[in-house]
Structure formats: C-alpha cells, structure tokens
C-alpha cells in the first residue's frame, strides 16, 4: 500500500528530468534517443525484462495495417525502481497501456520510457521519492 502511494508521488516534470539524468550518471548513452521529443503509443504488455543495467518493457503494438509489431522501452534499473514503488509485476503481461516515451532518433520502434497510465488511472513514472523498506 505504501508502495502504491509512492507510485503516485513525484509526478513533476523536474522529477522526470532528474530520473533521466540519473540514467546518464549510472549507465547510458542518450545519443540514440531524441530527448527533446515525447510521443505516445498504445499496445499490450508482452514482457517486462526486470534486468540490469536497465529494465525493458516490451509491447505488442498494431501498426496502421493491423500487423502486430514488437516495441521496446528502456527504463531505470530494478534496484532504482524497486525503491520507488515498482515491482517486476507492476506491469503485467496482457496489460493494455499507453506509454509516453522519448523516441529513438532512427525511428526504430521503441524509446526511453517516461510514463504510462495504469488501468485504474494511476500514473506510473520512474522518478519520485524513495521508499523506506527496500
């Protein structure tokens, strides 16, 4: 419950930027991402890779012809997310979500995860304050 509440906290733009900056310092290349742009795409969660150095959220997304294609979104590392309310099952296979992301410059299907709205209306981000119990 506490974690659920933490999920909702820290939804400021500054927080998002801070989280993104954290990525740079820990492990990252921003070069492939267009950090000045943000897009959204809707799909069905295919798999969550709860892995280091970064988590990856994989969606099945139907293109304009109705063909389902895999999209990948890079997120913060499990240790970072776990202290901000996420678990490896926060997003479940089969969940239909809309992801806000920083697109890849080359137009590939994916980007850097920014946020998503869960079915119950809560916003899920990768920033925010840390919890006390991890």
């Amino acid at each position: 419950m506490k974690r659920t509440m933490r999920l909702i906290s820290g939804l400021t733009a500054a927080g998002l930027i801070a989280a993104a900056s954290g990525v740079v310092q820990a492990h990252h290349s921003f070069a492939p991402f267009d950090m000045a742009n943000q897009k959204t795409v809707t799909g069905t969660v295919k798999q969550v890779e709860w892995t280091n150095p970064h988590s990856w959220i994989w969606l099945d997304v139907a293109n304009e012809q109705g063909v389902v294609e895999p999209w990948g979104f890079e997120g913060m590392s499990p240790n970072y997310l776990a202290r901000r309310g996420w678990t490896r099952t926060t997003l479940k296979v089969g969940d239909r979500i809309t992801v806000a992301y920083r697109p890849l410059r080359d137009g590939s299907k994916g980007g850097m995860f920014v946020s998503t709205k869960l079915a119950d209306g809560r916003m899920l981000t990768m920033s925010g304050a840390t919890t006390t119990d991890r």
Partner: protein
C-alpha cells in the same frame, strides 16, 4: 667464464628471492596480524557508519540544526537525487582562472582545459559506462544508487551498489604504495581523525575522470573526509589534487542518508545491456525482443 656466469646467475636468483620474500614479509606483517578481541571492541568506539546509505538527500544539515530529513522522509527534492554532490565554494586560489573550468568546477591547467575543450568540441557518443565499465574514482561515489559501509579491524569497506563495486580502505597503518598500479578505485588508506575517517587514495586508471569530461594525470590524489553530520546523515568532503590537470585543489561535498531497512541489490551490468557503444564509438540500441521463457 662459464662458472662466473653461473655464479652471477645464482647471485641474481638469490637477490630476487630475497627481494620477493622481503616483500611477502612486509605484506604479511600488515595483512596477517590476527585481530584481537580488543581490536573488535575498538570498533564499537568509532562512529557508526554501518548500514546502507542513499546518495543525495539534499544539502548537509547545519551542525546542531534541523535535520535534512527523517529516515524515509520523502521530502528531499528530486533534483538532489542522483548526483548528491554540490561543489563547495572555491578554496583559496580556486576560481575562474586560466583553467576554463565551469563555475564551481575544477580549475584546469591550460593543457587539460584544451583536452576538455577538444572533448566537448567532438563529444564521444558515450562514456565507457555504456559498455558497462564503472566510472571508478571519484565518479563511483556519486552514482544514483546506495552504498554500504563495513567496519572491521584494520579496514573500512565500501560496497557500492552500482556495478557491484567494492572499495577497500586500509586503516591498519600501512603506507600508500610509491608506484601503485592504476586501478578504477585507486589504492586507499585511511585513519581516524577524531570522529572523521580521513582517506587518501592514489593510482587511478586513465579511464576515470576528475569530473565529467575532465581527464586526470597519473599524479591525481583524492582525499576524503567522512563523518556523521547527524545520526543518519553522512557528510563526505572530497578534495582532488592533480598538479598536471588542476591549478588548485578541487573540493566538493556530498551527503548520504542512512536507510536501516535497505539492503543492497545486485547490479550485473552485462545482464541485459542493450545500449552499448561499438568499436567506432557509435552508441546503438539492441531492439531484438527477448526470447520468451
């Protein structure tokens, strides 16, 4: 003639053996002295650094003043998370100077200012970190992940969650080596100055940087002072000297906040590194979907 050579060879071997055994003997006097009960008891009189500490958490509290935040307090501004470091006001001669360092940053010699400018003019797509190399010292102390301190007789050990790293700080009185091998963390010795752990570190890999984009010479030294600013806040003051790269010592400070309930997580960077940099220095993303279990 032949016998002379044999004698010379024998003398050489003897000298080598003597030198080698001497070196081993020195190491043994340091590392193999068994800790006594008194040594363990003495640890209890030192400041309690044990536990897991979060980097950041806002500026250091004033001595005797209000605390930066209770354990678990979520009030620390997000902008202070991650880096957790604030450069201290310039000391003495440090300033804008000839170095061309950014305000509050290291003041660089012309040679290193030129190196930095060249780097900024043609920035690489990424740091070695993209290929899962750790930043080393001093960068490893500013990662957006926590660290844990262990105190044992003769040693303070810092376990750093990012990249599963370890710093060994020897507090058994040994001297720093004259000619250390260059390593990511350098070689560290420490001593207690009252309630402050004073650490000196030398011998760094050329991969490490003084600050973002600022290389160091093989003469870089890092001095750190660790103390408890309040029961769950640690203050670290870091002073970097490098006569080839810096025109003045570069001092910065950071605070850590203790979380008694936290444990360190593992961080195997090669587990799923999808944004590596290739040999040409170009950063890429591996978008191959994972194999289904």
């Amino acid at each position: 003639m032949k016998s002379t050579r044999h004698v010379r060879f024998a003398l050489f071997v003897a000298a080598l053996a003597s030198a080698t055994s001497g070196a081993i003997a020195i190491a043994q006097t340091v590392s193999l002295k068994p800790p006594t009960a008194a040594d363990w008891d003495a640890l209890a009189k030192l400041p309690d650094f044990t536990g897991v500490w979060e980097t950041g958490g806002g500026p250091a509290p004033q001595r005797g003043g209000a605390r930066a935040g209770a354990p678990g307090d979520a009030a620390a501004p997000a902008g202070n998370r991650g880096a957790g470091a604030q450069t201290a006001p310039a000391r003495g001669r440090q300033g804008a100077g000839a170095g061309g360092g950014r305000a509050g940053g290291p003041s660089l010699t012309p040679e290193y200012a030129a190196k930095r400018a060249a780097l900024l003019a043609n920035p690489p797509e990424d740091s070695p970190a993209a290929n899962c190399l750790p930043p080393g010292m001093p960068g490893i102390m500013g990662q957006p992940y926590p660290m844990e301190f262990l105190l044992t007789p003769g040693q303070v050990t810092i376990l750093i969650e990012a990249y599963n790293q370890i710093r060994h700080i020897y507090t058994d009185g040994r001297k720093l080596p004259d000619d250390p091998d260059p390593t990511f963390y350098g070689t560290s010795v420490g001593r207690w100055d009252g309630d402050t752990l004073v650490v000196d570190t030398v011998g760094f890999s050329p991969i490490t940087q003084i600050a973002n984009g600022v290389p160091h010479s093989d003469k870089m030294r890092i001095a750190e002072r660790f103390r408890l600013a309040d029961p769950d806040t640690m203050s670290i003051e870091t002073t970097i000297t490098d006569p080839e790269a810096l025109t003045a010592p570069f001092t910065s400070s950071r605070t850590l906040r203790r979380h008694r309930n936290w444990t360190l997580a593992e961080y195997i960077c090669e587990e799923n590194n999808r944004n590596s940099v290739d040999q040409s220095g170009k950063a890429g993303i591996n978008l191959a979907p994972p194999k289904q279990k």
